[in-house]
């Protein structure tokens, strides 16, 4: 699985960080998303999918390996 985030869309609501803190963080100076793990470990995949689904800004994109 590959993850990408769109900083311009991100509204800093932090749902991704609450759900998958090993994969996402928020910048200290403005709360915008930081991607910690662009290729998260398999045990993170379900949290990451949940984060992408609930992101209120649709700022998280997943590329699932075929």
């Amino acid at each position: 699985m590959k993850v990408s985030v769109d900083e311009a869309k991100c509204c800093g609501a932090g749902q991704c960080v609450l759900l998958a803190p090993e994969v996402f963080d928020q910048r200290d100076d403005d709360g915008i998303v930081v991607l910690l793990a662009p290729e998260p470990a398999p045990d993170q995949h379900s949290n990451v999918r949940e984060a992408a689904a609930v992101c209120p800004a649709s700022a998280i994109t997943l590329h699932e390996a075929p």
Binding site: G12, G14, V17, D29, D30, A53, P56, A57, S58
Partner: protein
Amino acid sequence: MSPSPNDQAMRLPLPTDGPLEAPAEWQELRRKCPVATVELPSGDKAAYLTRYDDIKALLSDPRFVRPTAADGAARIAPEGAGGPVANGDASLAIADRGEAHLRWRRHIGKYLTAKRVTALRPGMTAIAESLVDNLVDQGQPGDLKATVGFPLPVYVICDLLGAPAEDRDRFSHWSDAFLNISRYTTEEARESYTEFAEYMSALIAAKRAEPGDDLIGNLIKDSTEDGEGLSDDLLLNTGMGLLVAGHETTANMIGKMVSMLLADRTRWERLLADPSLVRTAVDEVLRFDANFGFGVRRYLGEDVEVGGELLPGGTTVVCSLSAANRDEQVFADPGEMDLTRAPNPHMTFGAGPHACLGQSLARTELQVVLETLLRRLPTLRLAVPVEELQRVEGLLVGGLRTVPVRW
């Protein structure tokens, strides 16, 4: 089906069968009339959206913002009713559009990040514990809304802003007066606003002299460091904005959450058996809430297509987030409360560039209250039949007047 000028416009709020029930019209509207014409209590007309995809698209469009008085948009409340925020004019009295909004949001956003909020959790738990103590001390039956739901969010915001604990109850009063259009007159609301503004100016001055490690103190430090910070006015409005945005909403949601979970007590028992469900249960309660005011408003500065229909510029749109949360195109068995539902992309916090900035805080507060109640009062139950719960006749944020409980 497009609304013709002769249509008798539906009146908001739509009637329901019970205090926690969804109006039957939502399903019909989503299917047949996703852009309906409604009449607001002010008498003004608006376009009413009920489909998830339409609402998400509109709220995600940065061109459209909450209306202000200057837009001449449809008003919610009749003239003269309610405090300074009843029509949303001063409600989030902050930079509300364009670059200024983005800058404001990022300034404040960094103090409401998931990490910061998680750091506040122990403090919130201590507040919840002491409020549950009060509930128990006052004896049975108790009103969970007045004793726990109402004070908790305001105490949390006071801590966040750095207002001293002994002033918490004054904050509660002001906040109530700004928003509670049935209990206070316009005059009282105005007076409260003046008192609040005076209090905040003094607090800001004290913090400028000695900035602490709280939101106001930090905003002040930022501004002296990079010359990019917020003015006194913006600081004042930020305090006001956070209180207005974060108090009544969360207070009512605590009452509704507990009522929804106790209305069918098997839900409560399931959580007692497995408290790890608290996280998903809170989001499901947020999705399921059918008593959440009218929805959020947007003023269309230009023409836009919604659900295949062209809405002309100048239209005021009311997005029913609760109707969207029951959209069968998005949620399986939307009428069922599933405490394990995940992912749960409900829109109770809005979407797009104005999505609730306090949502990590709100979720954490709700989780902490629920965990504390499950732990401290496992025998909790409603003290009256569900049908006897009464909705608040407020116009902005739906809620229940009281939540009588026994344990």
